[in-house]
Subunit: 134 residues, 4 copies
């Protein structure tokens, strides 16, 4: 299983705000793309996990914004699994335009079922998965 | 059942694009709010309809943009049921800032169930509803 | 100058709505990506045009939704310049998942300057451009 | 000048994601609405500040998600100025549905001019403002 991955993202016009900058809320959409693609590059699939009833929900998110990004910029998002426990998985993110660091962030996910009950982190994500006794 | 309704919407910062204008795609989000509130003012509830398995999906949308709107503008959205048949419901929308018309639009909805099969327009929306023989 | 172009778009998690479908408003964001990339493939650049004071604004948009798209679907967007006059440019769009047509649409743009005055369609887009007498 | 304020927000359909929950990125849009309305209730106006060349940019954001919110939920957002220095302003946010706490968050803003140079926090926001020697 891969623990880090990098993707390229071009800032959509509608991702920019009235100052012309990538809106601070959209960074979290990019991070979601980053962890989705990290999982895919490892052979996994969030949509299949979700169809199987394992819903990954964000329980904590933090981001430090270091430099603005603008419409049409091509950015490089580095995603890294920082920590996995039975209950949570934390990814770290670094977003870059060339050598300029745009932001650094950390987002923590937990796993729930359709009824909202907390589940173990699935093995596809490096967690103990369903069969693990604890 | 009401056939028209008016709501007030303040343009969110993140609804504006890099030109400082309300992004043309967000107007459709506003229209969705307009028909939701028209239904609510009639005593209905889209979420309850959806929980009951009646999903309203957009099959056609058109909008003519007449004048730009900006962040923090307070707009007035007029929503009107233009036409209801067994299979479709059409709403007309007019968006205004004071006396200035921002846009005029028409959005057509159909009703499907969770498996994607077409349903009759529910009676809450002025359609024949489930029990109608057609 | 190219008059048509095709791009691939993967549906982001946050592009999907509570029914799990690509939200009808987001299609217009995709079309904007389509015409941006058509222009780029022709050697042009919307951001440079905008920095030069030529703002392209949507004056009319219409879309017929034929089949739903879901999170993580890989879609193919075909963009074609359908008509260019001194005052307007119209693009036609077709969105596909494999052989399934998701939607067909047409969006009309006009060009304004920073003061909101209507300009001729720039020559990069196939219009007469600034220097043309009309 | 007010240091705290409360607003009501109804979750828009397009704010919900494919799980039916308010998407974690949209919370930050709500917080932006919270601080905008706190400022307005104090007699200030972000748009006027921005037109005057004082751009407030997010430099740090963090949120702990405690309970999901769904489409059409009516939420209560409490916004409080937690700290103001010459260079930064921090707001704290609490989002509630009835007695249930949905999330708690903290967002830090700095002020820049159109060229990107750091400015003192404007006096309307409780900062020292332009005239202060520091």
């Amino acid at each position: 299983m891969l623990t880090e991955h990098e993707i390229e993202i071009r800032v959509r016009y509608s991702d920019a705000d009235a100052m012309g900058f990538l809106h601070h809320s959209r960074f979290f959409v990019y991070f979601e793309m980053g962890r989705t693609e990290l999982l895919r590059a490892s052979g996994g699939d969030y949509r299949a996990m979700e169809d199987a009833g394992n819903l990954m929900v964000v329980v904590k998110a933090e981001c430090r914004y270091l430099s603005p990004a603008r419409y049409d910029d091509v950015l490089r998002l580095h995603t890294r699994i920082a920590k996995v426990t039975a209950a949570k998985i934390e990814h770290e993110y670094g977003l870059f335009r060339g050598a300029t660091k745009i932001c650094e962030a950390r987002v923590t996910l937990a796993c729930i079922d359709r009824e909202g009950h907390v589940q173990r982190i699935p093995s596809e994500l490096g967690g103990p998965g369903r069969g693990d006794a604890g």
